[in-house]
Amino acid sequence: MERQQAPLGSARVTSQIAASVTRPRYSGPTPPVGSATARSPWRRWRDRFFFLLFFASVAIGIFGLAALVIDVLTDGLGTLDFSFINSYPSRHAGESGIRAALFGTIWITVGTAAFAIPIGVATAIYLEEFAPDHWSTRLVQLNIANLAGVPSIIYGILGLALFVQAFALDRSVLAGSLTMTLLILPIVIIVSQEAIKAVPNEFRDAAFALGANRWQVVKTVVLPQAIPGIMSGIILALSRAVGEAAPMLMISSLVFLTFIPSSPGDRFTVLPVQIFNWVSLPQPGFQAVASAGIIVLLAVLLSMNSIAIWIRNRYQKRY
């Protein structure tokens, strides 16, 4: 058992509270909703009413999610079959398929990962382990936080002007991957920093005490500990890239692709762009095709998120 607690309001208790950085969630004895604490019936009634109202906002959020999923499933399940997955887009709703977009998404995701992981993790290592406590470091950190809030369409404009035009990459897989890299880089950096921060300092100190230099400490102690956290964060960042349509609309444009990219220089389309294309077609049959595409997109995202959560739970360490 704990030792007897200091009386409430004593200097020790208050200083402990002031010192605690992360507060425990409030879990003290609280009166139940609409309890006898409130003697006037009006206050008791108001308490009950607002409890229902607050609960209703949660319920509306969940209802909205459920409505969305059900709407998509009822519209799209009838169209979703193997030939839909394996066909190219077509003028006829009944023959349309998502093959080109599915493979385009795989190309873009792999390409984005190839650039974003090394650059993002390296930046995080630098900022957490090497960077001096200096105004320039704080400026870089502030800059990354700001980049994370820049609307995705702005990255589309940048990609169009920089990669498609200035670097003359045309509307290629490479241009799309580089644009997506810049878009998710701030997220990759931030999640990697969090994972590196979570490695306790005692581990570093032990390695330093054995004579390791900073890079050896990072390479042999910090990174092996941080990699599961980095991995799950990166998968979540990549799933953001998979669902992102605005910059890809600008880079790939609305094309009617009947081939799969075979090299980074080829044109491409991705799932959200293909879905947008179908949603904006006026012919009635394409609503079902769009829903089927959405089901495929959501399935891809769901599996990516499940993998990320699995990694986090499998390797999560508590110190």
């Binding site: 607050f54 959020g61 800059n143 589309g156 230099n213 050896q216 605005a246 959200p272």
Partner: protein, 317 residues
């Protein structure tokens, strides 16, 4: 030094091992230097991204403002770059953007704040651990899916009760956008509410306050900066959102406050031009950079204010 390297075999034991250690140490140090250089280069990428964004937007906007005056751009009430006679008044796009974001904000603030109060003050731990991830799924659904949802589900429902002239209307897009940013408000607000010390609550309960009174008279006022910040950040997200408004709100620049009409947002305009046949380098093509610059500045300002409030007012107790 050099002579040591050619140490004779008979006395090589200690010397050779000293030499080997010195070399190893040098190699380790060189490796660290190379790595440090690589890490610095990687860090530069994010700095250069910002430079690239600002440089691109400003340079092309500069070309635009040589042909259209800034005054005409900022105060003009007609936006028609794609038709003759051309007009370059950006106010209709700003009005459309703010109207859509405003509707989203009302929905998100009502639902998000209610959800945050429920999760922080009422929900048992077990319930909260189930509900929070479900709500956060809302933030992870691709915007193109929300656009489809607005157009195929919500708009027909709204049309059956309200006099909506065409299928595209800003009300439907705004409401769905509110659903999308609701978890942002609820998560950040709940964080702020959880940080309110329990002594404040205990004091109010000891005076006989009900849960509702504790929530609205103690917790919400104490957490207000965090709530305001969450709202600003969520609004900025709504202003920059593209797909929902492109799909469901239409493509008619419209200086209106009527939520039943079709409008065009700044983001939807950028998409419209970049998908069209507009040749690069023309005045029309340059408009997307001017509109993009305006959008960038608006969201940047809101993000800076939002994060400043969070930083300024956290850990005050």
């Amino acid at each position: 030094m050099a002579s040591l390297n050619r140490a004779e075999p008979e006395r090589s034991g200690i010397v050779a091992s000293l030499v080997a250690r010195r070399r190893a140490r040098r190699r380790v140090r060189a490796e660290q230097l190379v790595i440090l250089a690589l890490l610095l280069i990687a860090t530069l990428v994010s700095v250069l991204t910002t430079v690239g964004i600002i440089f691109t937007l400003v340079r092309e906007s500069f070309g635009f403002f040589q042909e259209v005056s800034v005054w005409e751009f900022v105060t003009g009430t007609k936006w028609a770059p794609l038709f003759e006679p051309q007009a370059f008044g950006v106010l209709p796009l700003i009005a459309g953007t703010l109207l859509a974001a405003g509707i989203a904000g009302i929905v998100a603030l009502t639902l998000g704040l209610g959800a945050a109060i429920y999760l922080s003050e009422y929900a048992p731990d077990r319930v909260r651990r189930i509900i929070k991830p479900i709500l956060e799924v809302l933030a992870g659904i691709p915007t193109v899916v929300y656009g489809f949802f607005a157009l195929s589900f919500l708009t027909p429902i709204l049309q059956s009760v309200l006099p909506i002239p065409v299928i595209f209307n800003v009300l439907s897009a705004g409401m769905v956008m509110g659903l999308m940013i609701m978890p942002m408000v609820s998560t950040l607000s709940e964080d702020a509410m959880v940080a309110v010390p329990r002594e404040l609550r205990d004091g109010a309960y000891a005076l006989g306050a009900t849960r509702f009174e504790v929530a609205t008279k103690v917790v919400v006022p104490a957490a207000l900066p965090g709530i305001v910040a969450s709202f600003i950040l969520a609004l900025s997200r709504a202003i920059g959102e593209t797909l929902i408004v492109t799909i469901a709100a239409g493509a008619t620049p419209n200086l209106t406050i009527n939520p039943l009409e079709s409008i065009q947002t700044m983001t939807a305009y950028i998409v419209q031009v970049s998908l069209g046949e507009t040749p690069q380098g023309t005045l029309v093509f340059k408009t997307i950079f001017a509109v993009g610059l305006l959008l960038f500045l608006m969201t940047l300002t809101m993000n800076i204010i939002g994060r400043w409030i969070v930083r300024r007012y956290t850990e005050r107790y």
